[in-house]
């Protein structure tokens, strides 16, 4: 395995990595890439708020997190992200704001399909990560969840694993069901009662539905499993983890707070399971798009454009990466969304370059004509 690692390094194109760490990392364990996809469109401006931006309080007065954890540079992390923020302060976590793939039309399905196949208009037939694996036959990947995500479709060297417990449906799904049940008294009453009972049980610290409606337990189980499998001898190099439930059209403050708490707890679990492998890891958390900058008048936000990528792990260069377009009316995309100042595929390319030594020919095989200049995020 080490041999193939050296072969990668020999092919390294990105000077930054070679100069800084190429030699030292060749002797250590092969880097781990953990890609977490938050499905539904996470509101990045809540997770990492540009608190000193002069427009934020007028654009979304009710959605600026209180008690946010200052990160410097005008940004602050939502208090639910306390573990992640601790890492950021300790130099082991960073972020890229205002990031998006080339797609602009705000459909979840399409945006996710494009994000996973690395395309710009028509989703490809296989996943970009599968194409990347093809360039490095020594690498293997694992998806955490019952079905293999599109991003790994077509991959030879990929398997999947999911926790034995049935991951519960998300809060968000239940909210949507509530509106479908508006005219069905029986189903509506059962649903309302179920949500209520579960919430009370949760507050009392009682036994909730497996993982609870908040899905925190399921996320933790996914993260723990991923960490254990990555750390195992001959474990995979890459893991893909799916987390649903980020489409916060309403009740955003509480729901997003719960989701971010669950994510943050999950990350803490992942780190402790990874053990010393944490030092070799690059955790990358992305979503198919961001959300509108203004709130929608219903306590939530609608589908937007520029989103947030959170990064963590021993391989991550700390701080803010990429450009920040700001929230002035001139800067907003379509006068509603955070502008897509940074290219998602540049982040993916940067990861492949920094971690696995992809050169421009490798990247072209993965992203074709969309191949960007990689954003380097590794130390």
């Amino acid at each position: 395995m080490l041999t193939s690692r050296r072969i990668f390094l020999a092919g390294l194109g990105a000077a930054t990595v070679l100069k800084s760490t190429g030699a030292s990392r060749a002797a250590g364990p092969r880097p781990k890439l953990i890609l977490i996809i938050l499905r539904g469109g996470m509101d990045g401006l809540t997770a990492i708020a540009p608190i000193t931006d002069p427009h934020i309080n007028t654009l979304r007065p009710h959605l600026v997190p209180k008690n946010a954890i200052a990160l410097g540079g005008g940004f602050a992390a939502h208090p639910a992200l306390k573990t992640w923020a601790g890492w950021a302060k300790g130099g082991q976590a960073g972020f890229i704001h205002a990031i998006a793939g080339p797609y602009r039309d705000r459909s979840h399905f399409k945006a996710q399909d494009l994000l996973e196949t690395g395309a710009d208009a028509v989703p490809g037939r296989d996943g970009w990560l599968a194409r990347a694996l093809e360039r490095r036959p020594g690498l293997s990947a694992l998806s955490i969840g019952p079905a293999q995500p599109l991003i790994l479709k077509g991959a030879q060297n990929a398997s999947s694993w999911s926790p034995a417990v049935v991951a519960p449906a998300s809060d968000d799904t239940l909210m949507r069901l509530a509106s479908l049940y508006a005219d069905d008294k029986l189903l509506r009453a059962a649903l309302e009662k179920a949500v209520e009972t579960n919430a009370v049980a949760g507050e009392m610290g009682g036994a909730m539905r497996q993982g609870g409606f908040g899905a925190a337990g399921a996320i933790k189980a996914q993260m723990a499993g991923a960490g254990r499998l990555l750390k195992a001898q001959d474990g995979p190099d890459i893991a893909v983890i799916d987390i649903d439930g980020w489409d916060t059209h309403g009740g955003q403050i509480n729901r997003l707070g719960r989701m971010l708490t669950a994510l943050d707890d999950g990350l803490a679990t992942l780190k402790s399971e990874l053990g010393i492998m944490w030092q070799s890891s690059a955790i990358t958390i992305v979503s198919e798009f961001g959300r509108t900058v203004r709130d929608n008048g219903g306590g939530g936000t609608d589908h937007g454009t520029g989103g947030l990528a959170l990064l963590a792990g021993g391989q991550i260069k700390p701080g803010q990466h990429g450009d920040w377009p700001g929230l002035s009316s001139r800067a907003l995309y379509d006068n509603r969304d955070l502008a897509p100042a940074n290219d998602m595929y540049a982040l993916f390319s940067g990861l492949l370059t920094d971690l696995y030594g992809f050169d421009s020919a490798d990247l072209r095989a993965v992203f074709g004509p969309l191949t960007p200049r990689p954003i380097s995020i590794a130390v």
Binding site: A147, L180, D184, L186, L187, A190, L191
Partner: protein, 450 residues
């Protein structure tokens, strides 16, 4: 027409498969399934009742031999194999039944069959019935669901599966020498359930005296020969006259002089045509297919059909389908977990992971052949739509959706067609992921109900 067809598929069938919602006459489609052949299920090497009883007899003999110490060490291993045989045959039957439910092109015949299998519940909840529930349903129920109720009643009640399930194998005529020698007496379990559940109904006008009379007439119907007779089980010929309480008996005021095996058959034939039975069956049919609180007109029409046709179940099925409003919305019923699982699998198409789906549904609901009591699975929404049950359905739907590659739009087109309303289509269009869209489609009122 397509709307009525979609209603027919959900209310009377098991949910449409892709391509089922084409332009065809829903009533004619339902009527065409009233056919004994449509109620059959075939599966390669399923055990017969005789096979199951032979296996049980072999097990008894083997155990007796083990006790007497005549056999070598390999005999213990053989015992394990024999113990597993009945369980394996049950697994085969569960698989065959489920796959039939998922694939059948005659889903009304299957629903009708399952109604009767539930009416005459024999569950695999005791050691003796594990190997018998499958053969029981295939041999005693399926061939007779479009025949006469009297035939079905006799076949079901006197089948070894039922005899074991409701303790008739422990029931001996109190005055017989055999009962005295074995220290046994009357067990009225089967007799009571025949009156309460299978025929007259709990308010059908019978008394304890009638229960005992029927129980006495049932003595001698043993699923195997008692050991002390030193004779082997004989399969279908299950009447052991030495265990039968001799003499005439009086049931519901009528005296049954003819003794022996035919006595209880004469009683069952009369019970089958009793007006209370007609009312009980009519109410259960209407409640199962039409509404938890059935319309009095529907019940009366079914009751009339049952009585005037002499319990002709094909005529009863026709009456049901032709009831006014039978092919109209709104849906009054909630699908049971099993119906939900089958409808989901049918709509997802043959590539769906049935066994996985079933494993999950078993976790929260209806284990096939696993009804909790002789009354069978409950048939009203209050049993299936509690807050906890709903939460489990959502979790199940969500896990099925995550494992499926189906597009929500395709699922809705195949499964609901014109039953999908704007709010569902909109909710799916706005779903945050395919899996969520599919979850919402499965959990939509139109799909949860029937």
């Amino acid at each position: 027409m397509t709307l009525a067809l979609a209603i027919a598929h959900h209310r009377f069938g098991l949910g449409p498969r892709p391509g089922d919602l084409t332009d065809r006459d829903p009533e004619a489609w339902l009527l065409s399934q009233i056919d004994p052949a449509a109620a059959q299920v075939s599966g390669g090497s399923l055990n017969s009742t005789k096979d199951a009883l032979t296996d049980m007899q072999g097990l008894r003999n083997h155990r007796a031999a083990l006790r007497s110490g005549n056999l070598g060490p390999e005999a213990q291993a053989a015992l394990e194999t024999m113990l597993n045989a009945s369980r394996n045959s049950l697994i085969q039957d569960v698989r065959t039944r489920t796959e039939h439910g998922v694939r059948t092109a005659a889903p009304f015949a299957e629903r009708w069959t399952r109604f009767w299998a539930n009416h005459f519940t024999v569950a695999a909840t005791r050691a003796e019935t594990i190997g018998l529930v499958g053969p029981y349903e295939r041999e005693a129920i399926r061939p007779h669901v479009f025949g006469r109720f009297g035939t079905l009643l006799e076949e079901a009640v006197l089948h070894p599966g039922m005899l074991f399930y409701l303790d008739n194998h422990r029931s001996f005529g109190p005055s017989t020498r055999l009962a005295k020698r074995l220290g046994r007496s009357l067990n009225e379990n089967l007799a009571r359930e025949v009156l309460e559940l299978h025929t007259l109904g709990v308010d059908g006008g019978y008394t304890q005296v009638d229960v005992e009379a029927l129980a006495r007439a049932l003595t001698g119907w043993l699923p195997f020969q008692p050991m002390s007779l030193r004779r082997k089980m004989t399969g279908k010929d299950v009447f052991v006259s030495q265990a039968h309480e001799p003499g005439a008996k009086t049931l519901l005021g009528k005296r049954y002089k003819r003794d022996g095996a035919g006595q209880v058959k004469a009683m069952l034939a009369d019970l089958a045509e009793h007006p209370a039975t007609a009312r009980h069956i009519a109410t259960k049919i209407a409640r199962h297919f039409l509404s938890d609180t059935p319309d009095a007109g529907d019940v009366a029409a079914l009751q009339r059909s049952f009585l005037t046709s002499g319990g002709d179940l094909a005529a009863l099925a026709q009456t049901l389908i032709k009831r006014p409003g039978a092919l109209e919305t709104p849906f009054q019923k909630v699908k049971t977990p099993e119906e939900l699982m089958l409808a989901t699998a049918r709509a997802l198409g043959p590539q769906a992971a049935f066994s996985k789906m079933q494993r999950v549904v078993q976790g929260f609901a209806q284990r096939p052949f696993g009804a909790p009591s002789p009354a069978g699975w409950p048939d009203t929404a209050d049993a299936w739509m509690s807050p906890d049950a709903l939460a489990k359905r959502v979790d199940w739907a969500s896990s099925v959706a995550r494992q499926s590659k189906a597009k929500p739009d395709d699922f809705v087109a195949a499964a609901l067609g014109p039953l999908a309303d704007d709010s569902l289509n909109l909710a799916i269009a706005r779903a945050e992921s395919r899996a969520q869209g599919l979850t919402l489609a499965i959990m939509s009122p139109a799909f949860q109900r029937r």
